[in-house]
Structure formats: C-alpha cells, structure tokens
Amino acid sequence: MDADPSAPPGDSLRHPKGTLAIIGIYGLLFVVGWLVIYFFVFLPRGPLTQ
C-alpha cells in the first residue's frame, strides 16, 4: 500500500540509504577508474617529448 503523501517525512525519507550506497559505489568507481587510467595508461606512456 502507498504511504500517505501528506504525512511528515519519516526517517526512511530523510535518510536515503539506497542513494547513499549508489553514490558511494559511484564515487569509489570514479576514484579507482581515474587512478587506473593514471597509473596504467598515462604513466607507462612516458613524456610526450623526448
């Protein structure tokens, strides 16, 4: 059954745990992806000019 939309927001609405998990995973992938490209693609190529 749907909740009453006019009721004051409960804890489940104030604390969006699913969103926090999704954004946390995204943030982790973001940082790991950036570091992977930096260490495993960019650095091995060496300087642009010799």
Binding site: A3, P9, K17, G18, A21, I22, G27, F30, W34, R45
Partner: protein, 540 residues
C-alpha cells in the same frame, strides 16, 4: 497559466527543428567515419556537416529550448506575465535571423570551420554575424526574465525566489558572465577580419576568448537540465525533492565557478603561462562538486518517490519508479550517462592527462555524454512534458516516445564508449580520412569506428522517433489537452533556511571577481606581448 505560450512554443519549435536537421548531419558523419561508400561523400561535405551538426545542436537547439523553458518557468513560478513581451519577441526574431544567416553560410559550404570556429580557419562574415545575433537575441531573453524577476521582487519583498527560477537565473548569470568573451572575439577579431577590415587575426587570443565563453556554455546547457532534474522529475516520479537548500546551493555554485575555467581547454596551447592554466584547472576540479551534490540530491528524490510508494529495502525503490514514462526515463537515463561523462571530464581536466586525450576521439565521446545526452536527452523529456501542455494537444505516438530514450541510451553507449577507447588508442578527432592516409595504426581503430557508427545509427533512429512524436503532436495531436504546469514540492519547505543563497547579486559579484582574476592578467599579458597574426584559410 502561461501568458506567453506562443512565444515559448516558437522558441521550442526552432530548437526542435534545429535538432532534426543536426541529426541528419550526425548520421552522415557516423557512416562516413565507418568508411561506407555514401553518395556525395567528400571532405568538403564532411566538414560542412560536422560544422552544421555542432552549431545546430550545441548552439541553436540548446539556446532556443532554454529560452522557451525560461519563459515558462518565469511566468509559472512568479505567476505574472513577462515584463516586456515585445522585447522577448524581438529577441526571438533576432536570434532566428542570426541562426538563419549562420545556417545558410554553413550549408552552402562557406563556413566549414567547425563549431569552435577557431581562426585562422575563416568563414563567410554571415556566419560570424549570424552567430553574434543569436547571442544578442539571447541577451534580450536574459533582460526580459531579469526585469520580470526584479518587478516581482519589488512587489514581494522578503519572499523566497521559487527554486525553478533560481536555476533559470543561475543560467542567465552564467550566460552573462560568459558571453562577453565570445562577443569580444566576434566584434574585435573575427567579424572585422572576415570582412577584410583586418588582414590578420591572433589565434591564441581568439581561442582564449572563445573558451572564456565555451566552457561556461556547457553549464548554460546543463543548469536548465538540472532545473528539470530538481523541480520536474521528482514530481513525475511520484515523489518530492529531497532538499531545496542543496539545490539552491548547486545553482549558486554554478554562478560562482562556471566561468573561470576556460584554460583547461587550452592546456596544450602555447602562449599561456602554466600558472594560469593550473588556476583554471583547480577551478574546474571544484566545479565537479555541484554535480556530485546533484547526483546525490536527485537520486535521493527518486528514492523518496519509491519509498512513498511503499518500498522499504535498499534498492527496491528503483522498481517503483515510472520507467515507462518518457518524461522520467529520459532524465534517469541522461543522469546515468552523465555519471560516465563526469568521470571522463575529470581525466580531461587533469593537467597532465589532458595531453593523452587532447584532440582524440575521447573528446567527442566525452561531450556526447554530457551535452549530447545529459542535456539533449533531458530536453527531449522536457519536450514530452511541455509540448502537449503548450500546444494543448495530446502527445501522439506514445509508444515511440516510450522507447526513444532507451534507443538513445543504447546508441550513446555504443558511440561514446567506442570513441573513448579509440581515443585512448590515439585516434585523432575531426579527421575525414578513415584510414588516416594509410597509416598502419589506423587499422587498430577500425573496429571501434564501426561500433561508433552503429551507435550513430541507433542515435539517428532515436532522434527520428523524437521528431515523429513532436511533429505528430504539434500537427495532429488530439486537441483539448489541459494540464497545469506543476513543479516538485520539497520534502521539507525551504522556510528561512540558507536565505543567503537567494542573494543573487552577492554571488554574481563573486563570480565577476573570479572571472576578472582568471582572465584580466593573462589577457593583458598576451596583448602586451609581440604577437604575430595569421591570415585566413578556407580549406573547402
């Protein structure tokens, strides 16, 4: 009630028309890149179509949709008619005349200089004058909305600015901070040069002025899309906006941080001191923050919607969202794609790694995720919502509307991921020759360009679906459709929270100071140097 319904609709239709023409150009490029034996395939045709696609999509489609949406937001949220609607119409016609002039110059092959119009590539003066008129028309749009807002403010002292209008004002202030750069480039460099009044042009100065405008242009596209994400989509999802003050904070941060970032597009340009490039790079990293906040707030609003429908688990609220409603799916998929684009943007903006992806296919892969989907797909969802309301006609071809965002999503993944990968392999962008003059390394890119072309076909099919729905609705939709324009309620009213975020002139002042700090010294230093101009080149 929208008193300026016809004005808003006129802007929407021009934007939609530009999108349709630009989509045809995109299909031709995608197939051409895959080395298909197309009729009339020549370098001249290719670069004409790249220019037309870029200008019509990035400058015309976006600007007109934003102007139309801006009028709707202003009148609906302030509940009053525009102050100076005649001026708004003048702005529309000026922008349309400018668009027509630029489009004719491009489509006749006299302005194949790509959307960035970098000199010393030279176009017919009609292109530069036309593009300038488009901006002038948009300034009149800014003026009308600002006047209407100020009149409301005078009549409602102390009232909170409605959130959708905060976003639209942020877009306007970003635009007013950004466009002096391109105006200076046009008026003092490109127009006199193309008319033969000046023999040479300084390309580094021109590029600097272009990117003063060119990167905040991205936020000018994105902020109205965020207005949709924050104030329309949560309601479409059946929920409420998670946090009103967070949304206001994001819009204010864009006013402050959008413009002093342009040198991150010029990290490989000579003539700009490394310290200034670093300053702009740091500002660019800062501006990732409002987008992260947006990701959290909007997804949280979707979670609120799911929970209001009874979800209790960690992720079961996702199933409760209206994925079959194109107003929702277009935005949700646009956000998903934008998450990937944000990651790529952090690579582009890294001072060192920029050299690895600069001018490669990675870049076109990147901006098709951001403007090409985060903004464009959101605007398509906006049209599914507003065009029936403004035309008072029911949406036609509903099935096409429902599948269209998903086809776009699939096509963009194929197109963009393949371009990111071939870009990392070193494939240059903006090159007509499929085999790069017979270079052996080009063979490694062939599979990627084939997948990219397949993505292009998906995108074209999706664009065709969108155009069919729009034209079907506008021309043959069942009359009598009535729906009021409603925006999402916040979970908790803003009340007096974070009132400082409503002090627009404070944030604009800080924005102006930052722009001066970022550009005054390097531009003065550049002008004081002995520089050597270039004569113009017309390659096709």
């Amino acid at each position: 009630m929208i008193a300026s319904r016809r004005l808003a609709l006129a802007n929407f239709w021009v934007g939609i028309g530009a999108f349709g023409i630009a989509s045809v150009m995109a299909l031709m490029q995608a197939l051409s890149r895959a080395d298909l034996d197309l009729p009339w395939r020549t370098p001249g045709m290719y670069y004409m179509s790249v220019t037309a696609h870029g200008v019509l999509m990035a400058l015309v489609f976006t600007t007109f949709i934003i102007m139309g949406f801006g009028y709707v937001v202003t009148e609906r949220t302030l509940e009053r008619a525009l102050v100076g609607r005649q001026v708004a119409w003048v702005g529309f016609w000026v922008a349309l005349a400018g668009t027509a002039a630029a489009a004719v110059a491009i489509l006749t092959g006299n302005a194949s200089i790509l959307y960035t119009f970098y000199p010393p590539l030279m176009a017919h003066p009609a292109f530069y004058i036309g593009a300038t008129l488009l901006v002038v028309g948009s300034w009149l749009w800014c003026g009308v909305i600002l006047r209407t807002w100020l009149a409301w403010k005078k009549d409602n002292p102390g009232a909170r600015i409605p959130l959708p209008l905060v976003g639209m004002l942020a877009a306007i202030f970003v635009w007013l901070l950004a466009t002096p750069g391109v105006a200076a480039e046009m008026l003092f460099q490109l127009i006199p040069w193309s008319l033969g009044l000046k023999e040479t042009v300084d390309p580094v100065l021109a590029r600097t002025l272009f990117w003063w405008f060119g990167h905040p242009l991205v936020y000018f596209w994105l902020i109205p899309a965020y207005v949709v994400w924050y104030t329309v989509t949560p309601r479409v999802a059946g929920g409420k906006l998670f946090s009103d003050p967070l949304a206001r904070l994001v819009f204010v941060l864009f006013i402050v941080l959008s413009t002093p970032v342009g040198f991150h597009h010029q990290l490989l340009d000579p003539g700009i001191p490394a310290g200034w490039k670093f300053f702009h790079t740091m500002n660019t990293e800062l501006i990732l923050f409002p987008s992260f906040v947006t990701a959290f707030t909007v997804v949280a609003s979707f979670e609120v919607a799911g929970r209001m429908k009874g979800a209790t688990g960690w992720f079961d609220w996702l199933e409760k969202l209206p994925w079959g409603n194109p107003q929702f799916s277009s935005v949700a998929l646009a956000m998903l794609i934008f998450a990937i684009g944000g990651f790529g943007g952090a690579i582009n903006a890294a001072f060192g790694m920029n050299a690895m992806v600069h001018n490669t296919a990675w870049i076109q892969g990147h901006f098709h995720l951001t403007v090409g989907t985060a903004t464009a797909l959101t605007f398509m969802g906006l049209c599914y919502w507003l065009i029936p309301i403004l035309t008072k006609r029911e949406l036609e071809l509903g099935l096409l509307a429902r599948v269209q965002p998903y086809i776009w999503f699939m096509g963009m993944l194929l197109f963009s991921v393949s371009n990111h990968l071939t870009g990392l392999q070193g494939m240059p962008r903006r090159v007509y020759e499929f085999d790069y003059g017979g270079s052996p390394i080009a063979q490694e890119w062939a599979a990627g360009t084939g997948i990219s072309a397949l993505g292009g076909v998906f995108l074209f099919v999706s664009a065709a679906c969108f155009m069919a729905v729009m034209l079907g609705t506008g021309l043959a939709g069942k009359k009598g459709y009535e729906e009021d324009i409603e925006f999402a309620e916040p979970l908790e009213p803003a009340g007096d929270k974070a009132r400082i975020l409503d002090k627009m002139w404070l944030w604009v002042t800080i924005g102006v100071v930052l722009v001066m700090a970022a550009y005054a010294v390097p531009i003065i230093q550049h002008i004081m140097m002995d520089t050597f101009g270039s004569t113009g080149f017309r390659l096709f």
